[in-house]
């Protein structure tokens, strides 16, 4: 970097990046998503994907699932900063590799082509619980649920089978077994 000419210090060593899934329970009120997302953008944290919906209409609680990457120190900060937000009730965090947690994304694929192409496309999705949501002579809309990188691969592979449009969600997560997030 050469001789620093700034009033600020030179950046220190960077640690290793991990991918984490962070689950946040918040009051479902105006601006709450902006608060959470603003915290990430304002402090330079990364958001790989985000999924949010109300899960308890009675208590007005929404569950936000955020996939993020960062050094262990940054992940720790993300959690602590989230916990300080007034509408945040609870924050759970786990590593992408964590075997005790399932996480899934959903994708909708629109494929256009003749029957054989459409059937090939459907077959290619077999591993990911494909559901045909809409069907015409020329097209299928196929829903699958899978991991992010699996959907990435599918998106690539279906190109030659008439894929013309993709819509996908962020990841949602759930613990395995009878346990729930603490």
């Amino acid at each position: 970097m050469g001789k620093s000419r700034s009033a600020y210090s030179i950046p220190g060593k960077q640690g290793k990046f991990d991918t984490h899934i962070i689950v946040v329970w918040v009051d479902n009120e105006a601006g709450v998503l902006a608060r959470v997302v603003g915290l990430f953008s304002g402090r330079g944290y990364n958001i790989e994907s985000l999924a949010v919906a109300e899960v308890d209409p009675k208590l007005n609680i929404s569950r936000i699932t955020i996939v993020t990457t960062g050094t262990p120190q940054v992940i720790e900060q993300i959690k602590l900063q989230l916990k300080k937000l007034v509408p945040v009730h609870k924050v759970a965090d786990f590593k992408r590799e964590d075997k005790k947690v399932i996480f899934k994304e959903m994708a909708l694929f629109k494929v256009v082509g003749n029957n054989s192409k459409k059937e090939k496309a459907l077959k290619a999705c077999k591993k990911y619980n494909p559901v045909i949501l809409d069907k015409t002579n020329k097209s299928y809309v196929i829903q699958i649920t899978a991991l992010r990188r699996e959907i990435d691969v599918m998106t690539k592979n279906l190109k030659k089978l008439g894929l013309i449009s993709v819509s996908r969600t962020g990841a949602v997560a759930m613990t395995r077994g009878s346990e729930i997030f603490k």
């Binding site: 601006g31 300080k84 007034v86």
Partner: protein, 588 residues
């Protein structure tokens, strides 16, 4: 049926219930219903500022000098945006503020109505929390919650945005019962085990240091008392951040002075070489740590803080203790007295070598400067100001720049809440309105803004506020005609290219004072300084004191950018005398 109150009345009923006596504000269309009610609430005094930023800083000065939340009232749109700098300042320095802003009526929100802005959107990143109240039924609950959020845990600013129609709507009001102060959202409490561990590390250490910050002041006067007791009990050296000054007496022999970029040689070297660092209510800010990778490499670090997110943010620590400073120090003292009644005696020996080393650093006298009989040296001016006001329980605010650092170096505080400065945000223009707020809170005390001529022009209009309310604040300008701190960086790091750091057309501050209806004074020679300062102190009106100082003076010592603590630049005197050699001295 219970009586119905308008939203505007409820605002004041809430303020009354929160024991608010003073608000700073500025009217406008979207808060007119609230202003209309003001006359009916005699226990609340409104101070009309000249700019909403001034209201914010005045509220900060009020808050920091009293330990109570500061309140400001501003209109929608430009009123709210003008308050943003002060809110951000309060956010960075953990000052409890409650900002009430007017908003366009609910049915116009989102239509780009006249003086509409997304106030909660704009202030979201610079408040602890904010609320847009769309239903008068939620108003009282929201305002009380706002006070709770502002004052609990790590304090900070909050904002309540009230649309104009909500100010007219009516509803019932139930009196608010003050609950026991709770620690905001933070529920984890420190354990005795952590205190035991802390004491164990303290007994093992032969090179300990306390590093204390604004958290001690925020924890209340009790925390400062306990800190003094703990420091005496252990015999350890102590240094403080800019914000923590006053929590421990500045002239005590165990105090090493401020640390950090312009901190003392002994404080920074002790931080670098210590084997145990006990951080109490400070946050490892980059102006303190310098180069992170080389920050105090050999020490075990303990961090006591009420805000868990301050721990391990910049520097990894060995023992975090989350809790209120006063409580943690209180338990520590109690435990030491119980399990190690002879702590001081048994430890004195152990740390005596350390003290010898510190005394050696101290003998460098790093705040020293070459005085002059022709021109007033800024450091000399502050020394004289200190000597002539130290017996008066003086409150000092500052602007931002060299003068601020010299004030921190040479003005010695021995009580908390006497020193108000913008540390985190470094807001030029903070000091004058902050002094207004301090003087409002302490009408009979001496309140001085140690100012730079550039900074003070940013909020100079608040002199008019001071005059209106007969607030005898003293604006002591160290006038070097330069944005001195900028000039210093340009001299040292940008090959003396003094790009736009000279103010070629300064006002005549004496005439300016007179134009505002206050008193103007000027000192140009060292020999007249004392008499003029005394005259200033004895003037029972607001004063602008134009102290013409050396224009070239630089602020030393200084840790240059990206350097560790033990590589400080020392002042010209040391450079001439070549007193220090070796690693401790690196010159540009």
């Amino acid at each position: 049926m219970s009586k119905l109150y308008s939203g505007a009345e409820i605002v004041f009923k809430c303020l009354e219930d929160q024991d608010v006596e003073v608000i700073f504000g500025y009217p406008g269309g979207a808060v007119l219903p609230i202003y209309d009610e003001l006359k009916n609430f005699k226990s609340i005094k409104h101070y009309l500022v000249r700019h909403e930023q001034g209201a914010g800083h005045a509220a900060e000065g009020y808050a920091r000098s009293t330990g109570r939340p500061g309140v400001l009232l501003v209109t929608s749109g430009p009123g709210a945006t003008n308050a943003v700098t002060a809110l951000t300042d309060a956010y960075m320095d953990s000052v409890p503020l409650v900002c009430i802003s007017g908003q366009v009526p609910t049915h116009l929100i989102g239509t780009d109505a006249f003086q509409e802005c997304d106030t909660t959107g704009i202030t979201r990143p610079c408040t602890k929390h904010n609320w847009l109240v769309k239903d008068v039924k939620n108003l009282s609950q929201t305002i009380h919650k706002a006070f709770e959020v502002a004052t609990t845990g790590r304090p900070g600013p909050v904002l309540v945005d009230i649309p104009k129609d909500v100010q007219f709507q009516k509803t019932g009001y139930t009196k608010f019962k003050t609950q026991k102060k709770i620690n905001g959202k933070i529920h984890n409490k420190f354990s005795q085990k952590e205190i035991d561990e802390l004491i164990k590390l303290m007994t093992l250490s032969s090179k300990p240091i306390f590093y204390t910050g604004g958290g001690v002041v925020n924890s209340g006067p009790k925390a400062s008392e306990l800190l003094r007791e703990l420091v005496n009990l252990t015999g350890f050296p102590i240094t403080s951040t800019l914000q923590g000054l006053g929590a421990f007496p500045g002239n005590d022999s165990q105090f090493l002075g401020m640390l950090g970029m312009h901190g003392s040689y002994e404080a920074n070297n002790a931080m670098h070489d210590c084997d145990l660092m006990i951080n109490i209510g400070a946050r490892f800010d980059d102006r303190i740590t310098g180069k992170i990778d080389e920050f105090s490499p050999k020490s075990k670090k303990i961090h006591i803080d009420i805000d868990p997110s301050s721990i391990n943010k910049n520097v990894k620590v060995d023992l975090p203790i989350v809790g209120d400073v006063a409580e943690v120090i209180g338990s520590t003292i109690k435990t030491i007295k119980k399990v190690k009644p002879n702590f001081l005696k048994s430890n004195n020996q152990k740390i005596s070598k350390w003290w010898e080393k510190i005394e050696k650093w101290r003998s460098v006298n790093s705040f020293d400067f070459v005085n002059s009989s022709e021109t007033i040296k800024p450091q000399y001016a502050i020394q004289r100001l200190y000597e002539l006001t130290k017996n008066k329980d003086t409150y000092v605010t500052t602007e931002v720049g060299q003068h601020q650092m010299w004030a921190a170096q040479h003005y010695k505080f021995d009580k908390p809440n006497r020193w108000m400065t913008s540390g985190g945000l470094g807001t030029m223009g903070y000091g004058l309105p902050a002094a207004v707020g301090v003087q409002v809170a302490h009408p009979n005390k001496l309140v001085i803004d140690i100012a730079g001529e550039a900074s003070v022009l940013m909020t100079m209009q608040e002199m008019s506020t001071a005059v209106q309310y007969s607030l005898p604040i003293k604006i002591f300008i160290l006038n070097n005609e330069y944005m001195g701190m900028v000039r210093q960086w340009q001299e040292l790091l940008h090959d003396k290219n003094y790009s736009e750091s000279y103010t070629a057309a300064l006002p005549d501050f004496v005439k300016l004072a007179e134009a505002y209806g206050c008193v103007g004074m000027r000192a140009t020679k060292p020999e007249e300084l004392d008499d003029k300062i005394i005259e200033m102190i004895n003037t029972d009106r607001p004063v602008i004191f134009d102290c013409l100082v050396d224009k070239q003076e630089n602020c030393f010592p200084m840790i240059p950018s990206g350097k560790p603590h033990n590589q400080m630049l020392l002042g010209p005197k040391d450079q001439q005398e070549k007193k220090i050699t070796g690693k401790g001295k690196t010159l540009v």
